[in-house]
Symmetry: C2
Subunit: 254 residues, 2 copies
């Protein structure tokens, strides 16, 4: 098993931030500056076209660390952030841009390309989790959650279906086409976000993916607005969801 | 205008509880024992077959007072609690029991009877709000919210559509048949609860009522489970919704 290499560390506003690499995968681990000896871990995925330090990632990490006392790990997805793109990545990105410029639906390209990325990303996440669990402040038997929307749902659904260490997950903003089968194997608590006026994902598609989860405890949060208008308070809701299911430390920010 | 008559008062665990009557309508006003001179008011409705002191009412009132610093008022709906039933009430209750015993859908009776009750209840609520706003700790220009599920949604939707003093509302667990038209006139922020496995209200019906609200800000919370299995954490979510929109005092209970 490969070990994490920490390459940089800073602390600010109660959050300790460490860059790491696992082989050629770069990531960031955010942790409480002070707190109990061990705390639950949230694996967090970024959306398509963004990366591990995208504002949505740093903002959610801060909420999870200060609001729940969690450790939060993000890695760059294949072909994203500091990682090289393959010829296949370039082809699919070009296909997406062509669809956008032609005013055609993005869904078919996103569904297909994200499914491809998930095949590459799931083993990377499992190796990253193996390595993170070697850290004494996380540990091999501590609670683990997964939090990822958009492309990070396309990766997180098959990851959660195949890794029993993940016991609670927040997903959202994706189609059921490539994911419903894996979702039907997920029985852990799920919170699922969708946008009622999503210009890319039809309502029926979002509802069908929510419906597919086999979880006895699952919640759907629908908000009025377009694809990119998910309200910020859903990030606070995700913190509370993980506190309920993984047992973090409640500290609601004002 | 009639004035509220307070008939009893107790205080416990940070909550001041006052029984009142407005003419022949009995109600309860829950308030913070200490706090700012004025605070927003939540009008809260009870479900069919229950009353102003049903455990769901006292539990939500405690959360709203201690979690948001709100005043919370509940009145007995017509034919409920300490109020007499008319011959028409008795007929409709008998029709509901017959449908239940025969294993027939309750929806048609509930929709029809609740629409009738709403016609009686809306003017009562408006008179109650007039009288509550005479109290110095509430005031005529303070923020007002409405919180009611089941029958209290059947009453609250036409009430909110017709009374501009209500600027945020939590509804849920009802059919669109008699309510969609009023919902289309509501533009204030709405949070709407439904149950994914509701044995009485089809999914399409709940989604259609949510869809009908004209509000730019609206959130739908769907949870797995049957009609009566709405999770308790939705009451905490309602507190946060009212804090966001009416400006209460944040105090998340652990």
């Amino acid at each position: 098993m490969q070990a994490l290499q920490f390459t940089a560390e800073t602390s600010a506003a109660g959050v300790r931030e460490r860059d790491f690499t696992l082989g050629d995968i770069p990531g960031v681990l955010w942790s409480p500056v002070s707190g109990p000896e061990r705390a639950p871990l949230i694996l967090m995925g970024h959306g398509g076209g963004t990366h591990k330090r995208w504002p949505a990632m740093t903002g959610r990490a801060e909420r999870l660390v200060n609001g729940g006392g969690f450790h939060v790990a993000v890695i760059d997805a294949p072909g994203h952030g500091d990682r090289p793109r393959t010829a296949h990545d370039e082809q699919e990105i070009a296909a997406l841009l062509r669809a956008r410029e032609a005013g055609e639906p993005e869904g078919p390209v996103v569904v297909r390309y994200n499914a491809h990325l998930a095949e590459r990303a799931v083993p990377e996440w499992r190796a990253t989790l193996d390595a993170l669990q070697e850290l004494p402040e996380i540990g091999a038997d501590g609670p683990v959650g997964y939090y990822g929307l958009n492309m990070a749902t396309a990766i997180g659904v098959p990851l959660t279906a195949s890794d029993a260490r993940i016991t609670a997950a927040v997903f959202g903003l994706h189609w059921p086409d490539a994911l419903a089968e894996a979702a039907r194997r997920i029985t852990v608590p799920v919170e699922f976000d969708m946008q009622w006026d999503d210009e890319h994902i039809p309502r029926e598609a979002g509802l069908a993916l929510f419906d597919a989860f086999a979880s006895r405890e699952k919640s759907l949060h629908v908000n009025a607005g377009r694809h990119k208008e998910l309200p910020r308070f859903e990030a606070d809701s995700a913190v509370r969801f993980f506190v309920r299911h993984l047992g973090g430390t409640v500290a609601e920010p004002a």
